[in-house]
Assembly symmetry: C2
Homo-oligomer: 227 residues x 2
């Protein structure tokens, strides 16, 4: 759906069009969108032809109702803005399992991290990480997660090396009908963005799910810190 048709549809929604029929004239719409009456009229015709609205000409205007496909389009737009500005409590992200380089496992097994995990999560992570590869389309969700505040895991030095700060977010992980609660996503503080999400859990998740590389999982990340 083209942006200016969506803008027209939004105007109808603002008049209450998602909840009941509204009486609108093409010149009302025109002045709101700052286009000519003719263009507004054309927009309404197009919205109708593309199945987003019902319309019926009436005395001094038209009676318009937004159809379900129109509401769907508006909601999709809203949910995108919500990722940027809304105060979301959970985010669902989809990814496919892949075998890491063992790096994640190396890092988390460091005592400096491990003691903090146990203290803050109240459970002891299994020694490896569960790595989900994400699609480009999931970047907005990752960004929304990074904008929230997780539990801070402090960095430390060991053997002359620096191990950086990280945020952790509690999450659940799901494949088909099976769900494992009490997992956590680790998000290194410095890296800008990454296409792989590292998850820790008290369980050995690969075995728990009987999973193989390429399997699709959905994780539900909690953005609120529950003490």
């Amino acid at each position: 759906m083209k942006p200016n048709l969506l803008a027209a549809l939004k105007y109808i929604a603002l008049q209450g069009g998602t909840r009941h029929s509204v009486h609108i004239s093409s010149s009302d719409l025109a002045s709101m969108l700052e286009v000519s009456q003719q263009s507004a009229s054309r927009y309404l015709i197009q919205l109708f032809e593309e199945g987003y609205i019902d319309r019926k000409l009436a005395q001094g205007g038209q009676i318009i109702g937004i159809k379900s496909s129109g509401i769907t389009a508006l909601k999709k737009e809203f949910s995108e803005y919500e990722l940027v500005f809304g105060d979301l409590k959970t985010i669902e992200i989809e990814g496919t399992l892949e075998t890491g380089l063992g790096e994640g496992g190396y890092y988390i097994s460091k005592k400096g991290y491990m003691t903090q995990f146990q203290e803050k999560l109240k459970w002891k992570p299994y020694k490896g990480t569960f790595n989900l590869r994400l699609d480009e389309s999931q970047i907005p969700k990752i960004e929304a997660m990074k904008a929230a505040e997780g539990l801070l895991i402090e960095g430390f030095e060991q053997e002359g090396r620096t191990f950086g700060k990280a945020w952790i977010f509690k999450c659940s992980i799901q494949k088909e009908v099976k769900i494992v609660e009490n997992c956590a996503v680790i998000s290194p503080k410095r890296t800008h963005y990454k296409r792989v999400l590292e998850i820790i859990s008290p369980e050995f998740l690969r075995k728990e799910f009987n999973a193989k590389d390429g399997d699709t999982f959905t994780i539900t990340i909690s953005l609120v810190i529950l003490k």
Copy 2:
């Protein structure tokens, strides 16, 4: 700002552009918006020229940051969608005082309504209504209010006449620095929309505010029912 420039700006925001600089190429943007690389390039130039973004060409793309005017534009869009789909707790509406026909006063003084007001609001309304005339631009807010659930005032019959159902919403009313809490908006259940908001209060508001017709007031309506 034109809708398709806003759509481009939203894409940048979804990549995290409201919070930090992001690396984006014109072809990334092009494929998201389903336009040519050339058009996407032009959009970015326009967003820059109109002061919505900062940009700097870089290896394999460009580094883009959204400037405050860009964030303002996006937030405005978000707040409009919020009126339609968000679960708002309060809404602020502006209107100008006008003298009603005495009708509102006649209705609310009916015993059938008055006893319900006292029961549900815990105060006795002053005998008249305070009428604020609204601008067309406030319709979305009125619609958002009507979509919420207020306290239901039952209708009744008297002397062969029917007095209809209505919703009431608690609100405060403000002119400049003076605020009066404990007011309520009455919204008749049937009328489709009206350009006048009727407010009741335990006080004689005109006197309280030393107000005259045409004065501008802001009311803050609470959409959550506090028992």
